[in-house]
């Protein structure tokens, strides 16, 4: 008696670029007019649109969150984050001894690392709890602070290893997130097959990215220096009049070139990591396969960055949409879970909105699912 739709593919996104762009422009206008207070409504309407155009086995996802919940989460984050931040950055410098105020600021930044991780976890919990498919709610179990503590440890290892622990850290984070993710009462698993390394296929692209960035960074400084030397010789810049300005310009230019080198060099790694993570996610015996390719990934990411930069961040959701569409249109489900046996979620609803997720602006105005 079941009536499964007959999809041409397991996952699909039917969102149209100009449709999303139109909503993003309207949201941007209202966000400006309301001095950004509209951002919660903007985020909600964009998610609603993107979710409803995401098809899984022929049926759409559904976003049931409301702007009021996000706004309430923001109000909750005021005393939890903004008041301490206001004290640290505004009151402490004038009310405390300079050394003590300095330590307090340092401590605040250190504490921010796990806090951002916890915020990401809370945000994901909220978004999953407001996502339904065929009426069944998704959810995220586990402890945000446990995730934060683990993330902090991995962050330390990444720092101490000059970045070389990154592939392992990324897999570890994905494992912790996905093993706590539920579709209804059915947990996702994150596991490798045949004893393979969880990071299989990620190390070489990572090495390419690491060395590419290092070499690109050195070349960037040489290139920036050459450009400025050329401009100086052409008489367009007078070093004597503005030595500091030229130095600053050189650093900015070199920094920009290095960022581009990083962006391009690590593209194979990003594609490999996405594919590898997808390959390890299972639910009720069904597996996933993502076919992200370096060039196509680089193309949509570049487009997204251009939107982000030239709109001064106002059209960031368009970049988010491109990302969502890219992934969904390349994602496959191998075998099907027994949907008739997947019951409603028993996890408690997240009732604190996204709280700190808004403070740290973690989700490109769309979502982190």
């Amino acid at each position: 008696m079941t009536a499964e739709a007959a999809p041409s593919q397991t996952f699909a996104h039917s969102g149209k670029f100009f449709n999303v762009l139109g909503l993003a422009l309207k949201n941007a206008g209202l966000t400006i007019l309301t001095l950004t207070m509209y951002r919660f409504w903007a985020r909600t309407s964009m998610r609603r649109r993107l979710w409803s155009r995401t098809w899984v086995l022929g049926d759409p996802l559904e976003y049931t969150g409301s702007a009021g919940e996000l706004f309430r989460g923001f109000l909750i984050s005021l005393p939890c984050f903004f008041l301490p931040a206001i004290f640290v950055f505004y009151i402490a410098p004038i009310a405390m001894e300079p050394v003590a105020a300095g330590w307090l600021t340092f401590g605040f930044y250190i504490f921010s690392v796990p806090l951002i991780a916890a915020a990401r976890f809370w945000m994901r919990r909220y978004q999953l709890s407001r996502t339904r498919w065929r009426g069944i709610r998704l959810g995220l179990a586990g402890s945000a602070w446990g995730f934060a503590a683990a993330s902090w440890g991995w962050w330390v290892l990444q720092t101490l290893s000059l970045g070389w622990y990154t592939p392992a850290a990324r897999i570890n984070r994905a494992r912790l997130m996905w093993e706590n993710t539920r579709f209804g009462d059915q947990p996702f698993q994150f596991e490798t097959r045949n004893g393979e390394s969880p990071q299989k296929g990620m190390w070489w692209p990572f090495a390419m990215g690491w060395f590419g960035t290092a070499i690109g960074g050195v070349l960037s400084f040489i290139f920036a220096g050459a450009i400025l030397a050329g401009l100086t010789m052409a008489g367009l810049i007078n070093v004597e009049d503005g030595g500091m300005m030229v130095g600053f310009l050189a650093i900015v230019l070199a920094g920009a070139f290095t960022a581009i080198a990083y962006f391009i060099s690590f593209a194979p790694y990003r594609a490999a990591a996405m594919n590898r993570i997808a390959a390890q996610i299972t639910i009720d015996g069904a597996r996933f396969r993502l076919k992200a390719k370096t060039l196509s990934l680089l193309g949509f990411e570049t487009l997204g960055w251009l939107f982000l930069i030239f709109s001064l961040g106002l059209l960031t959701p368009v970049a988010g949409f491109l990302q969502v569409r890219y992934i969904l249109n390349r994602l496959e489900l191998i075998e099907a879970p027994r949907f008739a046996e997947i019951g409603q979620s028993v996890l408690a609803d997240s009732d604190a909105g996204e709280s700190l997720g808004d403070a740290f602006d973690l989700d490109m105005g769309v979502g982190v699912i």
């Binding site: 009536a3 759409p60 950055f89 009310a95 403070a359």
Partner: protein, 376 residues
């Protein structure tokens, strides 16, 4: 009519028959008949040809999906489900309320706090003022050097300032202290602890003692009218507003940090005009011609033109247009008054910090028409 129904207990849809009764929707799946009141429903359509209905509260996960060519039937019995609000789109009232809230907050922080800045600044405990001054001094020490040879010049300038303040009965006259600092740019500024810093390059820029005295009078007026602390309060208010409203920890902090840093000590145009006016009152009362400060304003303008806007020291660039100020000061100038310092004193002041390191831009310009030297 055919539809698909999910009962919210399993991730599957079942075939269903639906009937749009006048008050309620009747869903028949096999032997079961489920009734939903239209008033309890909302829509979560897939925007791809299918209407999706659900009950608002509590959301049990039940869903009803049918093709949207049946929307006329739905509209006939439940017109409220045709409105954007049924799909969660906010109404104009929400947008207007948000705009009102946002601009009210902006008004409170960006207009209310500046309006109340004076009493708030005066109510600020002395400890906080001292702390802000310490931060300002650490900034000053970062880009200036102390002069070992300027004790006599410093004393001359402080005696001159005291004489001016005494004539005008400035309440802070016993707390104000002028320091000459070695720096690579012409500047003068007041700090929250009532200190006034004068750089050797500014002294080098002046060609007559009255020009320097005019600048000192201007800075004293900033202190008497509490402009510095008012400015700090204004900047902190703006910083908190931007942090809270924009939801991030960036723009607001930059403003707030600037507010307690020297670079942030920029006055409003109103404060500058007020300090100009009050400073010239001091000069009048002390029998010093305002022609000196008029010439100094002209020199600032020349400096700005030669140095370029990007290189103008903050204390000069934040001032209103120098030409207008020069005209205003010249209009109040009186002739026949003695210079504020005699030749010997002026020479000592000019030699503070070994004299200006290099000729500052504008220093070699021709003297303004009002006369660069001599008593006006």
């Amino acid at each position: 009519m055919q539809a698909r129904y999910a009962d919210g207990r399993a991730a599957i849809f079942s075939e269903a028959e639906i009937e749009f009764a006048p008050e309620k929707l009747i869903i028949r799946t096999g032997e079961r008949a489920i009734e939903w009141a239209y008033a309890d429903l909302s829509r979560t359509d897939d925007h791809n040809g299918r209407i999706v209905l659900r009950r608002r509260k509590p959301d049990t996960g039940e869903r009803l999906m049918f093709d949207d060519w049946n929307d006329e039937q739905l509209a006939a019995v439940a017109p409220q489900l045709m409105k954007p609000r049924a799909q969660g789109v906010e109404g104009r009232r929400t947008v207007v309320a948000l705009m009102t809230l946002a601009w009210s907050l902006a008004g409170a922080f960006l207009i209310g706090i500046p309006f109340a800045a004076d009493p708030m600044a005066r109510a600020m405990p002395e400890k906080y003022r001292t702390q802000i001054a310490d931060i300002s001094w650490s900034q000053v020490n970062a880009f200036t050097a102390q002069c070992d040879d300027s004790d006599e010049a410093t004393q001359i300038l402080n005696d001159l300032a005291y004489r001016i303040m005494e004539r005008s009965n400035v309440p802070e006259r016993d707390d104000i202290w002028i320091t000459v600092a070695d720096a690579g740019f012409p500047n003068a500024f007041a700090l929250p602890d009532n200190s006034i810093i004068v750089t050797d390059e500014l002294i080098g820029l002046a060609e007559h003692p009255d020009e320097l005295t005019g600048v000192l009078a201007h800075e004293i007026a900033h202190i008497e009218h509490n402009h510095i602390m008012r400015n700090v309060v204004r900047q902190i208010g703006a910083g908190i507003f931007f942090d809270v409203v924009f939801g991030g920890a960036g723009a607001g902090q930059a403003i707030a940090i600037a507010s307690v840093n020297l670079a942030g000590l920029r006055y409003s145009r109103g404060d500058e005009s007020d300090a100009d006016s009050r400073g010239m009152d001091y000069l009048d009362a002390a029998g010093i011609s305002t022609a000196g400060i008029a010439r100094m304003f002209n020199r600032f303008e020349a400096y700005e033109e030669e140095a370029g806007a990007g290189d103008i020291p903050s204390m000069l660039s934040s001032h209103p247009a120098s030409r207008e100020r020069a005209v205003a000061a010249q209009a109040r100038a009186r002739e026949g008054l003695a210079p504020s310092l005699d030749d010997r004193q002026w020479r000592i002041v000019q030699q503070a910090c070994g004299g200006a390191d290099e000729p500052a831009p504008g220093e070699e310009r021709e003297a303004p028409e009002t006369g660069a030297t001599g008593a006006d």
